[in-house]
Point group: none
DNA sequence: GATGAATGAGGGTTCATTCAT
DNA sequence: CATGAATGAACCCTCATTCAT
């Protein structure tokens, strides 16, 4: 995924065939280099020289395809949209667990850095700002618009509970753990959130595993949707 | 509140007297300029020239007090730690409402920018990284270590609820609204979170803003597990 | 007149047929694009990309016909030589008026720019330098070598008058007005020069516009020398 | 006047004392470098690197004093304004001869290049365009507003002669010779113009020296104003 | 102790020119 | 033959940092 010697050709000694940027694979290669660098050094410290070097292209070549650094970054991030798989499991708790799992499944080791880069770049570039809202809201929106609707139809949302916040909560917790604690988000975190916070909110004691000091019910046999 | 462009201090005519940086007020003035700029343009785009200009000092003077830009920023952020007022109201819901309120009370119009600046600068500067963890965890830690302990003593945490997540949740939601939606966090958001998510989690239906211990509506349809 | 942005040639729908550069019309089209751009932006700021775009050709194609930017420009300018119509009207004043008129007749709205481009490019390219001398001297030379000769034969040049300067003068004045004052040279300027400066020099009071051999007013107060 | 080793310090080996740009001599040194380069390569090809090298300064230093290349050039040209010494000799012909002489006295070997640079740069920079009009019109204006006025009072301008063109003519001829013929303008050219074109226009046969084929009067004892 | 000034090392972007198809 | 694509070398401008006063 990263660049380095892992590019096409295999041999690190030099690229014999110049693959044009019109080639989709080559294009993806460049955008991958951008993403890697974005994650590593952020938006401001990402230089075109760096990209050119990683992608084994010349700066002028990059500028032939993208009009500016900002556009290049926007393009790279746009091709890296997370996908949420929304499945109806008949139960909101499991629906959300599935959403979170599919969200984090596409999560690579550099997504934390990308998140910060996106926040950082949004300040300078209006298009990135739009992308940020789009990208970071999408998971919640997607969840709210279908999973939440189904849950409401089933009468799963207790009175007095703010449905929107209910759905935002798991994503917010993941985000915070990732941004603040530098945690790699994994399935345990998801289960902690789903069982230890979401399920109880819905009035299900749901066999949470994480409740510190709270005893957990033994039957934690959550059958995952997959 | 910060320095800004206008002459701070009271005499509008402009201070010609060169106040040395050893003077604590002068020092604070400089650090305030740094904070304002951090919030406005972020870490990377904060230049020493900008700071010097805002603080009406020369760059060389700044370098006499601080060895580098990174250290200057670290110093500035260190003096801007949020304060959480933890009061025992006898009820976790209200304890948390108080915590959030006191947290946001110290929140200035530029804290959103500072948050991003902190995330951004953490990447380059190890000291900032430490600061970030410290600053962003502190609210939760403070809450967890005292309010949560009290709640546990009172038996307020239902079985199956992850106490730590319980306390993290409100902060995570605020953070997400602020970072992603560019929302100005206000008391309504706090009440929504406390009443619409925290209280129900504790088995209390949220009784509207400020309603301490409002009794729960009967149709809470708590479907038991299994 | 030149190519411009609109589809030249008549079919507005756009020419899809690739006309080779060996075709004289296509060649002229390219050179016209060069002239237009030269006039608009000058020599240094004329880029091959710009030419290619205006001429709807690719840069590589241009380089197949012309070895360098300099040569392309030289070629373009060489095809744009001004034509002077020298007619014997029997009187130097009117001969010169005719010369100037024919000179300015071929003057397009972009000749001022071309003039500067020529001066500018001469510095870099030796061939352009030669072209400049050629192009800018030609009007005067042409005038001097025929009209002046005729005038001498007729005895129109008064003693003490430098014949060469006499002929240069109108052109120099036009040039200066164009280059310095950014004036669009028109017939009024010509008449002013011819009647207000040239005719008196020849001992004829200028008889107004076009007045061929208008008789001189009696109070010409020609103070004789000494 | 040029740069190279002729700068301060004499020794080419290196500048031991860094003279600040606030020093007027150092400043003039830089501006002289700019003028020399402008004359040599023109406006577009003048690079800040080149200036820095010639002036033995760093680019950043230049940018501390001047906000842009355009401003630097404007500044350099503004300090190079020609001076016209207008003296009342009691006779327009000699007044003009004096004006031209004083004009060309300040003329250095690189003024021709500067002229072109000014024309060239005017296209890009609005301030330079203003400077151009100012600089190139000033000689004529100065002459017209005082020498011409005096001449009119004395009744030296024959009827039918356009006074403005009369005064423009010598300057236009010099300009043309300089720009087109790459001639170094000297006193002979001035005398040719004054005696062979200006004087006759005023109805004085004026002992011209240049009239080709026209015999010159022997008493060419023009007493110069000095 | 405060400052005006200087600067090496980039940073984004462009250009004339060359390949490969 | 025409062209899409690639690129080394600049070019204008900026920044963190260091001197000399």
């Amino acid at each position: 995924m990263a660049s380095g010697a892992g590019g096409p050709g295999g041999q690190s000694a030099g690229r014999l065939r110049k693959v044009p940027l019109s080639n989709p694979d080559r294009r993806r290669e460049v955008l991958d280099a951008v993403l890697t660098l974005l994650a590593e050094v952020g938006y401001e410290r990402l230089t075109m020289d760096l990209v050119a070097q990683r992608a084994r292209a010349s700066k002028a070549t990059l500028y032939q395809r993208w009009p500016s650094k900002a556009q290049l970054v926007v393009d790279a991030l746009q091709e890296h949209q997370p996908v949420l798989a929304d499945q109806d499991t008949g139960c909101l708790v499991e629906d959300v667990r599935g959403l979170l799992r599919s969200w984090l499944a596409g999560w690579t080791r550099y997504d934390r850095g990308l998140l910060i880069a996106l926040l950082e770049g949004s300040r300078t570039d209006a298009e990135l700002a739009g992308l940020r809202r789009e990208r970071l809201r999408r998971p919640v929106r997607a969840a709210a618009e279908s999973a939440l609707a189904r849950a409401r139809r089933r009468g799963e949302i207790p009175a007095g509970v703010d449905g929107e916040l209910l759905l935002e909560m798991p994503f917010a917790l993941v985000l915070m753990h990732v941004l603040v604690q530098e945690e790699e988000p994994g399935p345990e975190l998801i289960d902690r959130i789903v069982d230890g916070a979401l399920a109880p909110l819905l009035g299900q004691s749901g066999g949470g595993r994480g409740g510190r000091g709270a005893d957990t019910s033994p039957d934690r046999t959550r059958t995952p949707p997959g």
